[in-house]
Amino acid sequence: MRCSILFTLLLTLLPTSLANTKAPHTSNWAVLVSTSRFWFNYRHLANVLSLYRTVKRLGIPDSQILLLLPDDMACNPRNAFPGTVYNNADRALDLYGDNIEVDYRGYDVTVENFIRLLTDRWPDDVPRSKRLGSDEGSNVLVYMTGHGGNEFLKFQDSEEIGSWDLAHAFAQMWAKKRYRELLFMIDTCQANTMFERFYSPNIIATGSSGIDESSYSHHADTDVGVAVIDRWTYYVLEFLETQIKDQQSKLTLGDLFNSYDEEKVRSRPGLRWDLFDGGEAAGRSRLVMDFFGNVQGVEVNDANTFNETEWIQGMEWLAQMFKDKELDQRIGTQDSSQVTLTKQETLAMAHPTNSQTHKIAKIMKGQQWEQKAVGAIALFGVAALWVGSSIFTRT
């Protein structure tokens, strides 16, 4: 019996041996989404901005954070403190600050855009800064907050995203190797229902409240006039801000999740481990910084194995070669012209649309005269009609 257990254990270990030797993740991405509009939902934007501030403090650059804010609380006319957003009644920390990059705002925050963002199905003209450029080495943090219900999350009072939509989007991300590990966090009512449908591997999911439970706000600021932060997010942030002091922190996700206190949160926060490679044990041992920070593995050049003089010699030789080549080109040998020709060929190969645009331009040129003629005829016709009608009415 024991033998067979050992054997199965061994079997399960074998295929992962390659994965174990895998180097750590190479980049961190964060997708931070608030889904609600209007002043009374101030706290949802404050939630997201707090997370934004934290991940930025822990080292994820703005270019790798996608911030989706459906409304602008800082500039809301009802805001008694214009240009600021606070997540605490003590108003010690202005979340809006002077260095904030919102990627999608206002009515750009839609279900469709969110799914496009995750699956990267955009028209060509969408800039890189608005895309999730993660790859198979990226750890991705997805944080969502808003108003939700059983297996849905409302976007902007007009539409909603279902748990299936989200699950399919993550499945497509996994299929295209757009994440290595993904941490999904959600703070809404009945939040845990949102990750029930996930089916792609290497996802850790956590939510603020179980089915038929509400997520509550933490406290209100009487001067701002509305609640400023949600309970679950408040306690997550409390952990992140007081325990994770610097980027060298070795605290794990297990520590973070153990800090949940149902008494304080007033709902039952949920966790999902079964999709993760290695299950709960492996998931709990992941560092908080693996998802909230941007710890880059660094390789110091090893001076011992490197033959510097040889390298310099090689470079100098290259420089010499380059100079010779330049001289050749100046003289204008046939060789160089051939090279440029092949370059053009490859260009044509790479951009087959080039000729198409040419055609289009030509067509447009040809149509100009016809269009003018049609316009002139129409103008004359209208004039004739006017003159004729005026003659008829006179008679």
Binding site: L18, T119, D165, A175, D246, V298, N301, N307, G314, M315
Partner: protein, 551 residues
Amino acid sequence: MEINPKQSASFVARTLQNKESKQPPAEDTATVKAKARVIFSFWSVVLFLGLPLWLWTTSIHRANLPVQEMLAWANGKACEVDVPLLFDIKAPKLTHSEAQDIIRGTSHAISSSKNFDIQRVQWQLSETLDGPRSRNSEEVALSIEFLEDSSSSAPIAQLLLQSKTLLVQYSPAMLRSNFGVYSVDIGKVIGEKLDEIFVEEQLSIEYLLASYSGCNKQLSRFSSTGNNADHFELSAKQARRRTRSLKYAPTYHISISLFTPGPVPTSWDIEAAISEYLLPLLESYSISNFTVDTQLQLYAPFSPSMRSPEFDWIKQQWIIREEDLGGFMDTANWPLSPNIGAGPTLNFILYVPDESLRPLVINGSGDHSWIIPQWGGVSILNHVGRIPTILSKEHLRPVLLTFSRQLLSLLGASDNPTSFPQQLQMLTRIHTLSLILSASSTLGSLAQLAESLATIPIPEEVALRVTRALDHLQMAQRNSHAGRFRSALEYARLAKAEAEKAFFEKDMVSQVYFPDEHKVAVYLPLLGPIGVTLLASLFKEIKKRRPTKSQ
């Protein structure tokens, strides 16, 4: 009016009696016919206009994808792509048969080593004393030149730094052996050298295939069966290299930045330095293009969250711990350009520390430069004495040499590059293979996606791109097989681009998932009232017709 309940009951009974006794007037045949026609026309509108319209507007267009072929590429066909090595022999002073002997000897030597199992080896004799010249159109992986040197006692094989040439020095005496076994020594020496040169490439290819999910991993040294320390170290090394290097792109953007916490240097002669020390490398790296920009930022201290360096009194230098290097850059405040252009960006940072913090070195190795995988490199300039306001070309020389080394390393070259042309050749082959694998895996994912998500629309554009990608893959495979790696690389790149575009087609966003109860809730208020009337009238009509038929 007050009605007696008894009275009203009798009134109702009377009216009922009346109804039974008094039938409505019989409809004339014209009205019956008209009625039937009305019902028929209503139903025909529903069936022939409404239903098709509904089906047409709610249907999802799904183009036919060559799913089988896509999956075939993803599940193994891509692994069969071979990247042969062609060795060219130039031996002006050897006869044809002597050269053949040496080839035989070398082949024997390398076949005993496990390294060349994965790559096919081909030979060609382009120059011999008497024999015919055979020349393939293929790209030569390495040319082996024989140099007669009668003074040498043992054959020497040496790789030339500047070209992909292996120089072999031999003396004529070595060609003749007493036992009828020719050129064993020379063959063995060449074989060992080839092994040394190409081991890196073999391992890379093997690792590439082993880490691709669709390939048969049993043959590989990285397979799970070879679980020993040796294997562990090998794959860790390869994994490090894979994660460090960027994926192949036809264009890279290089961003060189100088950050300093103080007011000096205010300028640097970077343009001249780049054209002198970096441009030759960029120009020679002929499989990609580069764009370069530079910036200089004053008053840019390193990240406040990093632990401050400590002073080592013995060595008289400031020390940063290696584990702190990850947080060295102040990503929130340093204006480091993210990916902007078409290709990926490589960042190179020159940090000039404050005078009070010099020399600043890394704990342990005492080095002052490091690589951030897939991102770029950092180098600290420990200038002795006051920093000049303008950093000259000479000041920048060591920095740019470091950058050029880091660049090559980030582009995927081996840890200890020996001959640049040979490295370039190797990278061409490896990139070709990895692009083919990547394109195949994308096509496989797309095929699986199309099969698993029934609600996702598939435009014709996607099918077109997939066909094109498959064609390009075929061409890449054919060219690679024939040893024309330049065109193979180009085709593989195109295949990957097409496959990616097909996968990321913007119209292929799946419709929002509707549970069935939602559908009922939407359709019922609309179709309920109409449907009831239509169905009721149809049943009535049928009922009416049945008895007449039986009569």
